[in-house]
Symmetry: C2
DNA sequence: ACCTGAACACCGTTCAAGT
DNA sequence: ACCTGAACACCGTTCAAGT
């Protein structure tokens, strides 16, 4: 009675669950890109036919929704004990880090409409942190909007860079081989700012983030310390 | 001799060119999303078999590269006579407008690696505008990075919003029906900032853009008027 | 209840064949 | 030179059938 007689115990096959399916989808996406996430491919990842997945997931769209929320679970919420600035810095860094580890992140955020529980919970934590930092509701909305736009946009543009993230930009100068006569400013940029020094586009992230945070801080000060 | 004897003149069918193919692809994307852009579908749009396209385009990847550059051609460059701030404001607005007209824009920017001529030309014009505004090379790179990240990110997040862009957020409150006990800050935000007033998330764009521009202006001032 | 095989209408791309 | 038909190895999804 503890374990059905007719059922193959099969310890090797834990049985299909929505969670296991989403994790398999993430593994496939990590390895082969979002492009490679197909029902058949995810099924194979689990040693199962594609059609079996339909008993646990409504369809591919629902699977992608779940995958988006799986990603959002990995993003750290702002620490409760830190101030708003440190909190935002930490959660923006985590958001970027997650998107870096899973390069299919921006694409899935972009293609989805239905926000999952992880996203909502994260958003709530962000708003709570800003509230504690003294942000009026309206300003908190502004802050959230501009910060999210910046982080997602940075990751997006970083990924579409024509050179490898880690490597220098010397490749770019070679690969592109853009005529300096037609593009004098770009040539100057590449020469002065990049060649020679070890340039990492990733360093731009902190610069822009601090710029945005500075902007928010001055807006907060202008709103007045009493404007709670 | 002027026109071959055996060739069907066929005024109705201008003959396939790369340009016509890219335009057809854009039309399909506008109508059915980037998802709907398939070689077969684009072929049908032109009254031609899918395989004919391969005589003018190397493959689907090359077609998408060309489609990305087609999009970038539509983005207005900063006016030469305006100052850097007005110039950046104008080109950021245009970039956003183009992405709004063609919602598949961010997706294609994200998925492509090879920058086309339109993108390079646009980038050059932006750098030129900043240079004239007195931006040192390094600061121009920062400016470009943070502005692009902001605009792309804003469009991306705007599109993944769970409510219709034009409409209010009343739908959200209904559709989501999130329990106010679990999400007090979000509930407060929706209630205070949105319900009642006619809230348009699009208004956030200008707010954030000005915040970023303010940040750049103060960085520029700190670099010193003589730091050319 | 859960899994599956066959089937349907799609994909991108190759290749030999037509004009 | 340019276009095409058939073919190959893929898609998501439905549905009737198995256990």
């Amino acid at each position: 009675m503890t374990s059905g007689a007719g059922a193959r115990p099969g310890v090797g096959r834990p049985g299909l669950t929505t969670e296991r399916i989403v994790e398999a989808a993430a593994a496939v996406a990590d390895r082969e890109g979002l492009h490679g996430v197909s029902m058949r491919r995810v099924g194979r990842e689990l040693g199962v036919e594609a059609m079996s997945l339909y008993h646990h997931v409504a369809g591919k769209d629902a699977l992608l929704d779940a995958l988006g929320d799986w990603l959002m679970q990995r993003v750290e919420r702002p620490p409760v004990d830190a101030g708003w600035r440190a909190g935002m810095r930490a959660r923006c860094a985590s958001l970027r880090e997650v998107m870096r580890e899973h390069p299919w992140g921006p694409a899935i955020v972009e293609s989805r409409r239905a926000p999952g529980m992880a996203l909502l919970g994260h958003l709530e934590a962000v708003l709570e942190c800003l509230h504690r930092g003294g942000f009026p509701v309206q300003l908190a909305a502004h802050a959230f909007s501009v910060l999210d736009a910046y982080v997602y946009g940075f990751v997006l543009t970083e990924q579409s860079l024509p050179f490898e993230p880690g490597g220098g930009v010397d490749e770019l100068a070679d690969e592109l081989a853009l005529p300096a006569d037609d593009f004098p400013r770009m040539a100057a940029l590449i020469e002065q700012a990049i060649v020679g020094r070890s340039y990492d586009y990733g360093d731009e992230f902190e610069y822009g983030l601090e710029l945005v945070l500075d902007g928010l801080e001055s807006r907060l000060a202008a709103a007045g310390p009493g404007a709670r």
